[in-house]
């Protein structure tokens, strides 16, 4: 291919302009989205969860989560009745059901749960995901600045920068991170950052048939979460860890860890 001196003179500045955009990184997909106007969180309404696993499947589809790994999963708790007279004839009950709940989560609850036939005690489902902590332990331990809290309150991983050292996987008290088996870097719930910045809700909230999961924007005074938090008994997981967790659970049982 022959390029004349004239063509070079035209191509060079064009290449320089293009290179500038390469250096600046991928341009923002949603130009109207302002990070400073949002502070994302999620509301989980435990009494509404039926354990269908729609959220787990939706998350896997939306985010290409590999089989056997979960950005969100559902646990089923069974708090059995107190066994006051036990077969061994001991003077005190064998176990305290409140501190020894039976928890199952077959394949993260992706295909639902086995039918529970034991009518005793009580059951409930607990969907789990990254708690998008405002003082997150996982971002504090990253040695290279590959994971961070975005200005709109979402804990993200820069996978081009991550070394895969897995310090963050150990630091997360909720077990919400994993090392991606193919990419060999940390992976976690992004609160569907690619969706919420476009005005959509997360894939799990979109797919939830009962409204047990609700995306919420704490910086939006019109968001129904404010009224909900005022009128319901809402908790976060492991408040004693002082992580500033932003996934709020309505009617959470004390046995949930």
């Amino acid at each position: 291919m022959n390029i004349s001196r004239r063509q070079i003179m035209i191509l060079l500045p064009a290449a320089a302009v293009a290179w500038k955009y390469v250096l600046a990184g991928t341009p923002e997909e949603s130009p109207n989205y302002k990070m400073s106007e949002h502070w994302w969180s999620m509301l989980i309404d435990i009494p509404k969860c039926i354990g269908c696993g729609n959220c787990v499947r939706a998350c896997q589809t939306e985010n290409d989560v590999p089989d056997g790994y979960f950005r969100t999963w559902v646990e089923r708790y069974h708090i059995s009745d107190w066994q006051m007279s036990n077969p061994l004839g001991l003077t005190k009950p064998l176990a305290n059901p409140m501190t020894d709940p039976q928890v199952i989560s077959p394949d993260g609850g992706k295909e639902g749960f086995p039918v529970a036939t034991d009518e005793s005690g009580k059951y409930f489902f607990v969907p789990k995901l990254c708690n998008q902590c405002a003082d997150s332990p996982c971002t504090q331990v990253c040695p290279v600045g590959a994971t961070f809290i975005s200005p709109d309150g979402v804990v993200l991983v820069d996978q081009t920068y991550c070394l895969g050292c897995a310090y963050c996987v150990q630091a997360c008290p909720y077990g919400c991170r994993y090392i991606h088996p193919k990419k060999k870097v940390a992976d976690k719930c992004t609160l569907c950052y690619h969706r919420i910045t476009k005005g959509l809700t997360t894939a799990c909230c979109e797919a939830c048939p009962t409204g047990a999961r609700q995306l919420a924007d704490l910086k939006n005074p019109k968001d129904p979460i404010h009224e909900f938090l005022k009128t319901h008994s809402v908790q976060v997981l492991k408040p004693q860890m002082a992580t500033g967790a932003k996934v709020f659970y309505n009617d959470l049982d004390g046995s949930v860890r």
Binding site: A24, A116, E119, Y123
Partner: protein, 159 residues
Amino acid sequence: MNVFKDAGHLFRFAGLFVLAFLVFLVVRHYVVPKSFGQYGHYRGAAMGEIAAHQVKYAGHETCEACHSDVAETKNKGKHAHVNCEACHGAQDKHASADDPSTVKPVLPDTSVLCARCHTASAAKPKSFPQVAPADHSNGLPCETCHKPHNPAVDTGGAK
């Protein structure tokens, strides 16, 4: 008296330090990504890259833009709060195609779909409608009696 007498080796050493510092600045300029530190101790451009990921669930507003008739039927019944893609699965490929009719969504299998939510289990909230599929319909498919978009059984006015 010249205080700089016999101090040449110090200047040479200082020069070496300055040179090394300049090399460090140059290397740093090229090695550290441009947007690192824009918002904090991380690469600011990472957020734009994550936000650019492909959406797969189109969202019910997108579905309803074309299928307003189905949405109207659904919103009259007990499945009003169930979003389209909760049952039909991710449909952005269908929704964002130039001609949506070329990407035909797969019709969900009601025997699997209905059972996933409505199979009776002691673990489910008591107020949630649930049945033991085998006893309930005697093996008949759910849609014999219940239309998924508005599941109430049409009794023709009779109770």
